[in-house]
Amino acid sequence: MKALSSAAGPAIGTPPLLEVSGLKKHFPIRKGLLSRTAGYVYAVDGISFTINARETLGLVGESGCGKSTAGKTVLRLIESTAGSVKLKGTELNRLSRAEMRPYRREMQIIFQDPYSSLNPRMSAGAIVGEPLTIHRIAAGKEKAERVASLFERVGLRPDHMEKYPHEFSGGQRQRIGIARALALSPSLIIGDEPVSALDVSIQAQVINLMMDLQEEFGLSYLFIAHDLAVVEHISHRIAVMYLGRIVELTDKRTLFDNPLHPYTEALLSAVPIPDPKIKRDKRIILKGDVPSPISPPSGCHFHTRCPVAKPECTQVSPDFREVQPGHWVACHLR
């Protein structure tokens, strides 16, 4: 459990499993007949974090903050604009497609929508077995056996292998997605809103399954979600993102007890609590909407909605600093 300590930088002794620094993804906006670049969407604008072995890092933020792009850029499903992604010390962004392949086995993804992320023309067994074929790990009877055991592990029956995605419920489809991600015995799984499309009672089943699998296989998760209560539940450490940047990163208890960034405070206070007895003394209601990532505000991206912004916040972008051991924040005032 040493790896669960609250270090945002490399833990002492063991290097982190994943080390992301200064990662950027700017999507060009093309216009006109010659498709000239007319500007950029600054989806991910320089983020840094680490994930240790057997650890879950939660990445929260509102729609359009760049959290999903961040996940896909780490996997190189989207090529980054700048920055470095190191898996077990190897820089992934410089690898060729062929060199990248063994590292793809190490990193898998579970998508949000269990309806569109499974091929409707493939049986559930073929979907889960496909990675084994592509990476030439198993074939024939051996493959069938491995797929069957994966099915059992995620709570599906082996006779479900013959069925097609439309024959499953949302929660079962998400289990298929999890089995597919597990097939290559990865060390890191990126969950991109893996439970947001599910009903409340099914959500709990999938969260519990993911936590059990982490124990059993020693997995690390990058858990991307907008639901703070879910992230809070499953994560060891949490990174809060706003308009392409991480504004705060710390262990979940510190984040909850002592949030430092005004955006984190507002986010925490906005989450409704299912207990009418709990009356909050102060709810911070942010004014306005999240600005467009095409023309993010100058200085601190949050200053347009920040209740405590100072003149310098509109000019100078705050550094992402470690203010207490393991507690990183990007705010001039903290």
Binding site: E62, A204, E232, P274, D275, P276, I278, D289
Partner: protein, 347 residues
């Protein structure tokens, strides 16, 4: 159905200060695979100025109930086959269609989940809000536009005069939902049906919209039926709560009572399965309580209690006979054979 013993549920609307009462509503859909009983004998009442939360998971019939109130069920395939819906004592299900039209958007209006698809993309915001006012309050086009701007001001839309001339795609999700609210409240309705009004919105925007709805309710005294799957939203806004499962009402109580002492194992399970931010503060990573299995298909409902296959307390009686709603005192109703025997927390 069976709750006549509780003193309510007669054919006449109750003498309480109820503005709306749904009585034994049955809305079915006729499909090739058979009859889907989307709403199967649901009754509940809404008091003046009150917020009633209707909770349940997808397919439980909570939205179909709301659409039935406005008689907006597409027919075919859907049909209201039985029941009554009283608005101030008047049964809406027997009204001729022109009377119903005069009532929609005027006495009862609705806010939908997805503000983008519920707004007309080729009309300006101002025109869309004016439409209802011109129709129901017979204002001139000019006066109606002034009223629209006034409504936009009421829902705290920034720059209301300019925004009234804009189209839905020019607005953010939160602003579109403000427009929906402005439109719904423009004729000062007695009842507002809000179907997942904040589900498509981010938490910080959700907080803004819920805050606005609360403020407007205080100001205008509108009674609200808030349909949602989010127990947190219900806990913060509703005074009374109805829990639905597979087309039936399984529990109803005042919000404080329901959250403190849920009687139906489904309600108990739902409350236990939601991760809670206020409890995460301990730093521990514990397992959530699960409700086993999946929501049954409405094509193929189990015999007996619909929740029995997933219920930790189910016995033979539960698997054979659907339990009637029973009053557990002070208007706390639950449809469960085991209700009252177990106090709290099945786990």
């Amino acid at each position: 159905m069976q709750h006549a013993q509780a003193g309510i549920g007669h054919a006449q609307p109750s003498p309480l200060d109820e503005i709306l009462r749904i009585e034994n509503l049955k809305t079915y859909f006729y499909s090739r695979e058979g009859v889907v009983r989307a709403v199967e004998g649901v009754s509940y009442g809404l008091r003046r100025g009150q917020t009633l939360g209707v909770v349940g998971e997808s397919g439980c019939g909570k939205s179909v109930t709301a659409l039935s109130i406005l008689r907006l069920i597409p027919n075919p395939p859907g049909k209201i086959v039985d029941g009554a819906i009283y608005l101030e004592g008047k049964n809406l299900l027997t009204l001729p269609e022109p009377d119903m039209q005069a009532l929609r958007g005027n006495d009862i209006s609705m806010i939908f989940q997805e503000p983008m698809t519920s707004l007309n993309p080729v009309l300006t915001i101002g025109q869309q809000i004016s439409e209802a006012v011109i129709l129901h309050q017979r204002l001139s086009a000019k006066d109606a536009m002034n009223k629209a701007v006034e409504m936009l001001k009421l829902v705290r839309m920034p720059e209301p005069v300019r925004r009234a001339k804009e189209y839905p795609h020019q607005l953010s999700g939160g602003m579109r939902q403000r427009v929906m609210i402005a439109m719904a409240l423009s004729c000062n309705p007695k009842v507002l049906l809000a179907d997942e009004p904040t589900t498509a919105l981010d938490v910080t925007i959700q907080a803004q919209i819920l805050d606005l709805m609360r403020e407007l309710q205080e100001k205008l005294g509108t009674a609200i039926i808030l349909i949602t799957h989010d127990l947190g939203v219900v806990a913060e806004t509703a005074e009374r709560v109805v829990v639905m499962y597979a087309g039936k009402k399984v529990e109803e109580a005042d919000a404080a009572v329901l959250f403190a002492n849920p009687q139906h194992p489904y309600t108990q399970g739902l409350l236990a399965s939601v991760p809670r931010l206020d409890q995460a503060a301990t730093g521990a990573r514990t397992r959530l309580t699960e409700i086993k299995g999946i929501v049954p298909s409405l094509h193929n409902l189990p015999a007996g209690c619909f929740f029995a296959p997933r219920c930790p307390l189910a016995d033979n009686q539960c698997r054979q006979e659907y339990p009637a709603l029973r009053d557990m005192g002070r208007g706390h109703m639950a449809a469960c054979w085991k209700a009252g025997q177990n106090s709290k927390g099945v786990a």
